[in-house]
């Protein structure tokens, strides 16, 4: 469907052309008008500042200054190292395309990002500057907002060399297969990876992502959560903020005691995504431990929808086989069945 939307948008503007045969004089005219407006506004502002300054002094003398709003907590600290041609973070290794320099731990406007660079934990603070070619590794956190279409709500999982999972939305999966840009998420490393370049560069980077092997483990889950939210399909999103229900869901997941062992995923017959990647899980339900309004999620668990080769993966680590009908039981707890 992604391609269809793109095609519709292309079609919408295929016949659109400038109405102004020479826009330069109009732009210059607007520029002059804008300067005039600014000059008038500047004079008015100077008067207003003087008035407010006097008013502020009066107010301060009366002791009426307001409270400073509490600042929000900062996001998790993201750390990565660059060595041996790879960007490494939390057991994840992402190859640096040959000849691409690395820019790390900076805050740039989008237009300051040069072409053909690898950005590591770079916060881009401005609007787009058109298509640029670069790779990116930065922090990932679970989504806390329910999506109403399956392409965005559900999780697809591939298994990296080394055994760790990568998660992709339906859109990301489509891009990984064919587009000149791609992005994937390594939740266990709290990292997101993206690249925009020529298709061979995209394929080479994806092919070269590896993870340090980890021993099989049960699901790691948050101790507590104010709410849980289950996305089963585009139409079916279940939420509960009842502490008893949340604890039941958590206990159900914590009781799963058959960790996936190396080589067990993907199961035989898995669909190929690229030359080296196969889908271990498709359209998996997303169980998010979140706050009631869905903005600050602490963890996400991907749960197979079917009973064939069924497993669950936690964003905090751990992956387990599932008994038949497991997702239905979670739905039942959340009042969905």
């Amino acid at each position: 469907m992604t391609e269809r939307i793109r095609a519709l948008l292309d079609e919408a503007v295929a016949g659109v052309g400038p109405r102004s045969p020479d826009p330069v004089p109009e732009v210059l005219r607007r520029g002059r008008a804008r300067r005039r407006r600014l000059a008038v506004a500047g004079t008015a502002a100077a008067v207003a500042v003087a008035v407010f300054a006097v008013g502020g002094i009066v107010a301060a003398n009366r002791g009426t200054s307001g409270k400073t709003p509490a600042s929000r907590p900062s996001s998790e600290h993201f750390e990565a190292t660059v060595s041996g041609g790879y960007v490494r973070t939390g057991g994840l290794a992402v190859p640096i395309p040959p000849g691409w320099p690395v820019i790390q731990d900076k805050r740039l406007t989008y237009c300051e990002v040069p072409a053909n660079v690898f950005l590591v934990n770079v916060a881009m603070t401005d609007a787009p500057c058109g298509p640029t070619r670069h790779a990116f590794v930065g922090p990932w956190r679970p989504y806390g907002t329910p999506a109403s279409v399956a392409e965005l709500a559900l999780i697809n999982e591939v298994v990296l060399p080394g055994g760790q999972p990568l998660w992709l939305s339906g859109n990301e999966l489509a891009n990984v297969r064919a587009a000149p840009s791609a992005s994937v998420n390594a939740p266990w490393a709290a990292a997101s990876i993206s690249i925009r370049g020529q298709r061979p560069q995209v394929e080479a980077l994806l092919r070269g992502i590896t993870a340090n092997p980890v021993p099989p483990a049960r699901l790691t889950l948050p101790e507590t959560s104010p709410a849980v939210q289950l996305s089963v399909s585009a139409e079916k999103q279940l939420t509960s903020a009842d502490p008893a229900v949340i604890e039941q869901v958590r206990a159900l997941l914590a009781a799963l005691d058959q960790p996936v062992r190396p080589g067990e995923l993907p199961c035989p017959g898995a669909t190929k995504v690229t030359g080296t990647w196969k889908l271990a899980g498709t359209d998996m339900a997303a169980l998010t431990f979140t706050d009631p309004i869905g903005h600050l999620a602490s963890a996400e668990v991907a749960i197979s929808a079917g009973d064939t080769c069924a497993f669950a993966t936690s964003s905090l680590g751990g992956r387990v086989h599932l008994p038949a009908g497991f997702l239905g039981r979670v739905e039942q707890l959340l009042g969905g069945r």
Binding site: I5, D10, G31
Partner: protein
């Protein structure tokens, strides 16, 4: 005031593409071109920094996207001019509708921020993370805006239902 060196050449070379981008960001040809010209005024002011070593096209698009993102509060709440008379004025209701017109109509019906995210995600091909960093919002916000935009576009009684039906068929 004369155009500085290189500015007119830049505008002539990139104007048509910028108008297409602006049309999608606003859902309307006229407002799209208006958006481009307003953005070019800012490009003109920054021209000494952008020429010859900068990227004026990228700068202009950035200004356009930021303006469109904020547009819910401003310009595009105004009446939208149209070259086509609305239904009920004698037109044949069974006449096939032009897809381009339907798509632009559907874009106009979206809230500004949903429209911007939709265009960046599906037309410009940016990832959710890239869009979030560009617009200074969370990926959750991008995800929800995109989700709602798609859901609205393919609503069963919406103007694009038939187009999406063709995909499913």
């Amino acid at each position: 005031m004369n155009a500085p060196d290189g500015f007119a050449d830049f505008v002539h070379a990139r104007y048509a593409a910028l108008v297409r981008h602006g049309t999608l960001l606003t859902g309307d040809h006229g407002h799209g071109e208006d958006l481009v010209q307003e953005a070019l005024v800012k490009t003109l002011r920054a021209w000494s920094r952008l020429h010859p070593d900068g990227d004026p096209d990228a700068y202009t698009r950035r200004v356009m996207v930021r303006a469109a993102w904020r547009a819910g509060r401003r310009l595009w709440h105004r009446e939208v001019p149209t070259a086509v008379l609305p239904e009920g004025t004698g037109g044949d209701p069974y006449e096939p509708q032009d897809t381009a017109r339907l798509v632009l109509g559907a874009l106009r019906a979206l809230p500004a921020q949903q429209r911007v995210v939709l265009v960046l995600r599906y037309w410009a091909g940016l990832s959710e993370l890239e869009i979030a960093t560009m617009l200074g919002c969370s990926t959750g916000t991008v995800k929800s805006r995109a989700s709602r935009a798609i859901a609205a576009l393919r609503r069963a009684d919406g103007p694009l239902a038939e187009e999406f039906e063709r995909v499913r068929a």
